[in-house]
């Protein structure tokens, strides 16, 4: 399993596209929003946590189809399916690899990008915490969506349509926790709810995703 994790991460980093692209996209979104809403510092600092969350979510979406697509096309997914690791384990490892190369860098970069939007002082901390807890759920839900659409030739757009509604609860609680934390209010409730979604997704969605993969490999 560790070998699979290392392999996936190597492929993601060396093949180009997945790794840097998500971060660059996130930076561009953070740059574009001030152009759209105007440069007033007060407005920007109020919407900054929400925009950073939406930006991270979209950046995460970009690289989802790479989780299974390439392996499906060159046949390694069939090998993995017959390997002694259960399919659920494969899915979980691949989601973890996706998180390590997209979710984690986004989490680390978000407080820095916050400066572009005049994010106020406790906000950096809260954005970091909420993204750290929330992005694993995004990767896991995304892996499920990718497993559903892996057999399709042009699954990218469909993948977004399937995955984005599933992201709504995570986004609501994550952005709410970040906004409340930045405003100096108690953010424990949304933070716990989001942690619950992450824990539930990581525990249960590998089974659903593995079932979808088995159907697609039939």
């Amino acid at each position: 399993m560790i070998a699979l994790l290392v392999r996936d991460m190597r492929l993601a980093v060396r093949a180009g596209g997945g790794f840097g692209l998500g971060l660059a996209f996130f930076l561009i979104v953070s740059t574009l929003v001030p152009f759209g809403v105007g440069p007033e510092a007060a407005i920007l600092s109020r919407i900054a946590p929400g925009i950073l969350w939406v930006g991270a979510l979209l950046a995460c979406l970009l690289s989802l189809d790479r989780i299974f697509q390439l392996d499906f096309e060159d046949g390694s997914l069939d090998l993995l399916a017959t390997a002694p690791i259960p399919m659920e384990g494969t899915v979980a490892i691949k989601a973890l690899a996706h998180w390590l190369v997209t979710g984690l860098p986004l989490t680390l970069a978000a407080p820095g990008f916050g400066a572009l939007m005049n994010l106020q002082s406790p906000g950096h901390y809260w954005i970091f915490i909420t993204l750290l807890i929330g992005t694993p759920a995004l990767s896991m839900i995304g892996a499920f969506g990718a497993a559903l659409t892996v057999g399709l030739k042009r699954g990218g757009l469909l993948l977004s349509l399937l995955v984005l509604p599933l992201y709504i609860p995570t986004l609501i609680f994550g952005a709410e926790a970040a906004t409340r934390g930045t405003a100096g209010l108690s953010a424990v409730t949304p933070l716990l709810m989001m942690a619950g979604i992450t824990a539930g997704s990581v525990a249960l969605l590998p089974f659903a995703a593995a079932a979808a993969l088995r159907i697609n490999l039939r």
């Binding site: 469909l158 349509l161 609680f173 709410e176 979604i197």
Partner: protein, 244 residues
């Protein structure tokens, strides 16, 4: 004779063919008088004026929008567990009706919201959850449309429907948490104290019954079409095999 015998499409087709005209007739018999009664023979409400009459479409369609998703969840589960062919076709057939009901509920709600709240749209929990439900319906239907092999499509959409139901429910509560609303609470309940007044209640019940029957009729028609499509697909494959 058990319910599972209708897993056999032939039996289902025979029975549904016989039942269908009756269901259509009953739907017409409840829906038409219900709507006429509601629109023309109920008084204006004190705070709502004539706009109250949109309730006869808004409430039943909103109820159906949610109930149809629940029905799709049950039929998808039956397909996953028992490979019940009629069941998954019924889920597919219901999806389009469900999305239509959702759109009707959203639009009539917007029309009603304008004179009452002064706005067509507000990010109220109920409205927002309906918009989210609409997105879930779209995703489900798009997945059906994208996959060519009918059995693969049936399996994948069933998995999506089950996972989607969990997340739709989560969204419902997340949205509640996110914003407090304008929308009133439930107008109907078993508790007599909370009802709308009887003059509005009785035609509303008739309309709800009419919408349910209309849905049953439509879903039977569409399921029959779906089953014929599957049969056609199988026949085409058989012909191609013969040629090869």
């Amino acid at each position: 004779m058990s319910l599972w015998e209708f897993a056999n499409p032939v039996k289902f087709m025979a029975l549904s063919g016989k039942v269908l005209p009756w269901v259509i007739g009953l739907a017409a018999l409840t829906l038409i008088p219900g709507l006429i009664w509601g629109f023309f023979f109920t008084p204006e409400a004190t705070n709502f004026g004539n706009s109250v009459k949109i309730i006869y479409i808004h409430v039943p369609s909103a109820m159906m929008a949610i109930n149809i998703w629940a029905m799709m969840l049950v039929t998808s589960l039956i397909w996953i567990v028992r490979r019940h062919h009629v069941s998954v076709r019924a889920a597919k057939a219901a999806a389009l009706i469900g999305v239509t009901m959702t759109v009707i509920a959203l639009i009539t709600g917007a029309i009603w919201g304008e004179p009452m709240w002064g706005t067509y749209w507000a990010w109220d929990p109920r409205l927002t959850s309906f918009l989210i439900l609409f997105l879930f319906y779209l995703g489900y239907m798009a997945l059906w449309a994208a996959i060519e092999n009918p059995d693969t499509a049936a399996d994948l959409t069933s998995v999506l429907c089950i996972v989607g139901s969990v997340f739709a429910l989560l969204s419902r509560y997340a949205v509640n948490f996110w914003n407090q609303g304008l929308h009133q609470g439930a107008s109907l309940s078993m508790d007599r104290e909370e009802h709308v007044a009887d003059v509005y209640y009785l035609p509303l019940l008739l309309c709800i019954a009419g919408f349910i029957l209309l849905f049953v009729a439509l879903v039977l028609i569409r399921t029959r079409t779906e089953l014929r499509l599957v049969r056609l697909h199988r026949l085409e494959i058989r012909e191609r095999m013969k040629d090869a």
